[in-house]
Symmetry: D2
Subunit: 130 residues, 4 copies
């Protein structure tokens, strides 16, 4: 499976089959899945816990570390898909709606190079720019 | 966009374009993205914080609550995709590999109806089953 | 050390000494400590991931499980104290202020037996109570 | 209340009284408290989400930002204390035991200036030090 060729529906199907075969729907309350999602997200963070920003960027060039992170991201993805299955949500549709909302909330011309009103300023910001 | 018709690559493209237009790659260190993923996962959990398992299942039938959860899941997905972009990871491939590993780790015949060795036992488990 | 006899300042001192001896202040940016706090909180959650509410209450009676949870809570506490040290915060004072705020926000007479406006209702709530 | 004068037991008492008056023990399953702890930890992280390590250190000098972080830390502390109450755990004792374990696991002479075997090395580490 590759990102280019795999639909979200196909991924959800793999999770559904896995859960169904093990009769695990009983454990897959949306609450438990939300907890699981958070647990796995923390495991992703653990790979970067003490790294500087630069060291975290370097992970992209370190095959073994990148593979370890990829495995944790796969766990996050699996629980995300499981939640969509339990709640009957279309993830792509929810994503599309939220990105449209983000476009409105963070107009590109106002937010280029800064993450928000609290942004203390970035190195390549023109002098005087708020 | 719907799950049936949308590939992971297409979703990643939407995120990439959004980040690029705002010159936000500077903030998207893998470390910051891992943190963001965890923050959003906690926001998903917040919707279920005090609910009983049954109340959490009922969310699937409550349009407004389900929509609120969908929006948070979309945020988790967006950061997951952003991380894949920054690290150059194929999410579907990582997912496929991890699910194959899970098939080995949790053989369906041994794990039907139970989540692990710590499982104190479920109502429909045959008597005497470990 | 026991809760009855130990002040927050004493606990902070133990953490400070530990960090100082290892020259770890360099890693203890408030950001890294916040991440560490979240990682440990997820490890606490992991002990309850698939348990029902009742099974989670039973942990109080299971010495080995309770000890495992206690160890994770100790980790959360250690990072909380480390953050107070790095930021120069008095935790007891911050706690007192927040509890006073909570007293205002959740008046006891209005919130008896319910956690908020979203509370779908609890078994012992009088009929008709919103 | 100040760190110098306040015992952990006193803090736990304040939480217990707050919970008792509102008849909230019903919601305070250890599982729900673990979830709440993680939610609040994420809210602490949110204050540092996009900051550089240096910007995060600067928070110590910014009264308003530091107060905001203090409030979130107070929330984490409150749930930690609530968990100790529900599980009947002595936090100081658990902390003492864990710090003793950490002393063994991270001998000061081996871990001065480095956080572990994965530590790629810090600027002030002597050349040749592993």
């Amino acid at each position: 499976m590759t990102d280019d060729e795999t639909t979200v529906a196909r991924l959800r199907q793999v999770v559904e089959r896995f859960v169904e075969r093990r009769d695990w729907h009983r454990f897959h309350t949306p609450k438990n899945l939300a907890i699981s999602l958070a647990i796995e997200a923390a495991e992703v963070m653990e790979h970067f816990q003490w790294l500087t920003p630069e060291q975290s960027r370097a992970v992209a060039e370190q095959a073994d570390r990148r593979a370890a992170v990829a495995e944790e991201l796969a766990d996050v993805l699996a629980y995300l898909l499981a939640m969509a299955n339990e709640l009957g949500l279309d993830l792509a549709a929810a994503f599309e709606a939220k990105m449209a909302k983000n476009e409105q909330k963070y107009p590109a011309d106002q937010y280029r190079g800064r993450f928000g009103p609290d942004d203390p300023g970035s190195p390549s910001t023109s002098p005087g720019e708020p």
